[in-house]
């Protein structure tokens, strides 16, 4: 069930009413658990068994690790749980990718290998909940967290429907305690949740889905499209994926607040970053921090020498690419970002650049109402680098991505590129105007968690804003409703 479907708008009030109609924590969790399995099973009820299996593997492993103090036995349990998780993920998501790659690699050295191609349906959100359950076991192993005895609380934590299929990937250490206590309704939290949902829906349905039409047209005919068309489509895709994915996270966080649950922040205005390093601090924060804590740091992080550090960065970035999709163009996307990060690390150690990579808590782009020329230039440069990466992410294949890069690169030096680009902009002036308005709103409201966060505006102004957004969604966001992009990961 998607957040943008009519079914969901009927489902949510029912679950909300049931959840708050019961007072005890056990019943509240039971309502959420049943609702989450209904929500997930709406796609295909068979997926529920898989999620249950994944949950039980880590629940059992967590308890097993806790019960024993023998390091070897703890390691063995951890290794078994990780292998089981990765096998599930590997089979459903990567089997055909690795099988095809193996066949191609063998045929290139003259070995004719026959691997059966299986028709495997990718269960929605498998990457998200698998990583979440893995982090549960890992945290117990590292002694950061004690396992839960209450299976109901644990299953509710894994399956909690708002963040189930596209994150944010929550850590047990922050989310589980919230299921362990009786939740009390908070008016302010519920209001904030509604605002986040409204903003998220507007981003997804009005901005992302309308941009998607431009992107799909250009990328579907990439062989015949002009450089200008592809360049514009790539920029549009950069915003489409941002508005799509961050909207999901925001709606998820908003829904969670309706139930008295706080989810972590997943995006913090990433396109106002001045370096790629900063971009990754602000983009898909839950995955980035997951990879940092469970891959990058265990590999040695930045403590080892420059070469080892570069290797660690590259490994983490490649894994991030592979996590997104079982295809070489995703790996290339990860690799490209690995190169960016490594290059920035090298430049930084030579002095100078560190101050541009703002921390997450800092205001992106600085305090000033308008960015200075240097800040603006750095933001534009970072955005261009990120867009180059998006070509690999959006393309259907590695080969297509290279073709698109070539067309845009050669187009940029041709004199007819810019009039063609202007013509493209004119052709999509309504959607791009809406996008420009969105960027302005984000920039001016970038001090807040979400642009629609509560302010001091009078009630009339706030309600007028909410009304305008609701009507914009209903009138201009319902013409073409696409699935959230990250559902496929």
């Amino acid at each position: 069930m998607s957040f943008t479907s009519a079914a969901f708008f009927l489902f949510l009030p029912v679950v909300f009413a049931l959840h708050w109609a019961v007072r005890r924590k056990t019943w509240q969790n039971l309502v959420l658990l049943v609702a989450s399995y209904v929500f997930y099973g709406w796609w295909d009820w068979r997926f529920c068994w898989l999620m249950l299996a994944s949950s039980l593997i880590d629940y059992t492993a967590g308890s097993g690790i806790e019960r024993t103090s023998a390091p070897r036995r703890r390691q063995a349990i951890l290794a078994t749980a990780m292998s089981a998780n990765l096998l599930l993920l590997g089979f459903f998501k990567y089997f055909n990718f690795f099988a095809d790659s193996l066949v191609i690699a063998c045929s290139s050295v003259g070995v004719d290998l026959s691997v059966p191609a299986l028709t495997i349906i990718l269960p929605v959100g498998i990457s998200f909940y698998t990583f979440q359950t893995m982090s549960y076991t890992l945290d117990i192993y590292y002694g950061r967290f004690r396992p839960l005895r209450n299976l109901l609380d644990y299953l509710t934590f894994v399956s909690f429907f708002p963040h189930l299929v596209a994150g944010p990937i929550q850590r047990a250490i922050t989310l589980l305690p919230q299921f362990h206590a009786t939740r009390v309704f908070s008016l302010e939290s519920a209001r904030e949740g509604c605002r986040m949902m409204l903003w998220g829906l507007a981003k997804k349905m009005v901005v992302a889905d309308n941009l998607g039409a431009i992107v799909n047209t250009a990328y579907a005919a990439a062989d015949g499209a002009s450089g200008a068309e592809l360049a514009l489509a790539t920029v549009c895709f950069a915003f489409q994926i941002y508005c799509d994915f961050s909207a999901y996270s925001e709606i998820a966080a908003g829904i969670a607040r309706l139930f008295g649950i706080q989810l972590m922040r997943n995006f913090a205005y990433p396109y106002f970053s001045e370096t790629v390093t900063e971009f990754w601090r602000r983009w898909h924060i839950s995955l980035t921090t997951w990879l940092r804590d469970y891959v990058y740091i265990p590999l040695g992080g930045s403590r080892a020498g420059r070469l080892r550090n570069a290797r660690n960065l590259m490994c983490t970035a490649l894994l991030s690419g592979l996590w997104h999709g079982a295809a070489w163009h995703f790996v290339a996307w990860g690799g490209l970002h690995g190169l960016y990060l490594t290059a920035e690390r090298i430049v930084r150690t030579r002095g100078g650049q560190a101050r541009f990579a703002r921390r997450l808590e800092e205001i992106p782009g600085g305090e000033a109402l308008l960015p200075g020329p240097k800040v603006a230039l750095r933001m534009a440069w970072t955005f261009a680098l990120v867009c180059a990466g998006w070509i690999f992410f959006r393309a259907d294949s590695f080969h297509q991505a290279l073709t698109i890069c070539q067309r845009i690169a050669f187009g940029l030096i041709r004199p007819d590129f810019y009039p063609a680009l202007a013509a493209q902009v004119r052709a999509h002036v309504a959607v791009l105007g809406c996008l420009a308005g969105f960027v302005v709103v984000e920039w001016t409201r970038r001090r807040r968690w979400t642009p629609l966060a509560a302010g001091t505006a009078p009630l009339v102004v706030r309600w007028a804003t909410y009304t305008a957004m609701l009507w914009a969604i209903l009138l201009f966001g319902t013409q073409r409703i696409a699935d959230f992009i990250y559902f496929r990961f």
Binding site: M1, S2, T4, S5, A6, A7, F9, L10, W20, W42, F185, L187, A190, R191, C194, W463, Y466, T467, L470, W471, L474, L475, G477, T478, Q479, R480, I481
Partner: protein, 325 residues
């Protein structure tokens, strides 16, 4: 909690008021062919029984002159025939709630519909024009429509009500080549009466004359018809079936399956089959633009045949002599 709920209700009420103020129900002015569904339902709801209710696809819209039928039988006629793509379950559900004592319900389904098919696009179009018709969707479609199309249908409807025509894009409506205004008051299409076009003018290799096979009746469709016939029986109405028109050349290849389907139909309790497929064949010159759409000449012939078939039943019902078979 109470405050929150009150605020949500107040906000939604505000939106309702805005819709009432800004929204102009411009549907009466909608000229799309399928918008005739509004007029047909209006007539269905406001015509007093006993009536002749015609249920089927466009073979009824383009196949019966309701005015002539009404005069011939001295009963009001409601011709619900509009588009075959709606499918049999939807068509039956549309009428089920409005069947009353004494009604003669005449079904005429396009032959390929017995396989249970329908087209989501046509259903979406009908729902965009008349959202209330959502309740007529078979249960098996609810999930998909709520998940995949619900918001689009709602959005399309609101755009039509609130926005000026020139920017109210994004509708799923398509141009059928016919107009809502082409229907008469009883629900029969007469907009093509002046046109000289007919299927005999179409090249022999045209897809319009393609001899496509049809599948047999599915248990699901049989069950739907059986339930509907039972309902008619319980309410003191009669459920009848008349064959749709076909050119002989196109009927011949599908005749064995059609006959088998009709034989199956005849076994359903409280359903009476009025005629045979070969009784409803007309020359190509009497077909307008498809194998189910008749020209005026064809329409008049078919209507007279139907009057002859129904007259004994009408007089029987007037004398309270309804029998099940």
């Amino acid at each position: 909690m109470k405050t929150f709920c009150l605020k949500v209700v107040a906000f939604l009420a505000l939106q309702g008021m805005i819709l009432a103020l800004l929204g102009h129900p411009n549907l009466p002015g909608e000229s799309n062919y399928l918008a005739a569904t509004l007029d047909k339902h209006n007539r269905l709801e406001h015509t007093r029984p006993p009536r002749i209710l015609l249920i089927g696809g466009s073979n009824l819209a383009f196949g019966i002159e309701s005015d002539l039928l009404a005069q011939g039988l001295s009963r009001p006629v409601v011709n619900m025939g509009l588009i075959a793509g709606a499918g049999i379950p939807f068509m039956l559900n549309e009428v089920a709630g409005q069947v009353h004592r004494g009604d003669l319900v005449v079904c005429s389904f396009e032959y390929d519909l017995f396989a249970g098919g329908d087209y989501d696009l046509n259903l979406r179009q009908l729902l965009e024009l008349r959202p209330r018709s959502f309740w007529f969707l078979p249960l098996s479609k609810w999930k998909r429509f709520l998940t995949d199309y619900g918001m689009q249908i709602l959005g399309g409807d609101l755009r039509r009500m609130v926005l000026p025509d020139r920017i109210a894009s994004g509708s799923v409506l398509t141009d059928f080549g016919y107009q809502r205004q082409g229907f008469d008051a009883d629900g029969s299409y007469i907009g093509h009466y002046g046109s000289p076009a007919n299927l005999a003018m179409v090249p022999a290799n045209s897809p319009l004359l393609a001899k496509s096979p049809i599948p047999p009746m599915t248990p699901f469709v049989r069950e739907k018809i059986a339930r509907f016939a039972q309902l008619c029986h319980q309410r003191g109405a009669r459920c009848l079936f008349t064959c749709p028109p076909q050119p002989p050349v196109l009927l011949a290849p599908i005749l064995p399956v059609v006959r088998a389907n009709l034989a199956e139909l005849a076994t359903i309790p409280h359903v009476r089959v009025l005629d045979q497929p070969t009784d409803e064949t007309y020359p190509l010159t009497e077909f307008y633009d498809t194998r189910y759409h008749l020209t005026r000449v064809g329409i008049l012939q078919r209507t007279r045949k139907l009057i002859a078939e129904l007259r004994p039943l009408v007089s029987a019902s007037e004398h309270g002599k309804f029998s099940n078979r």
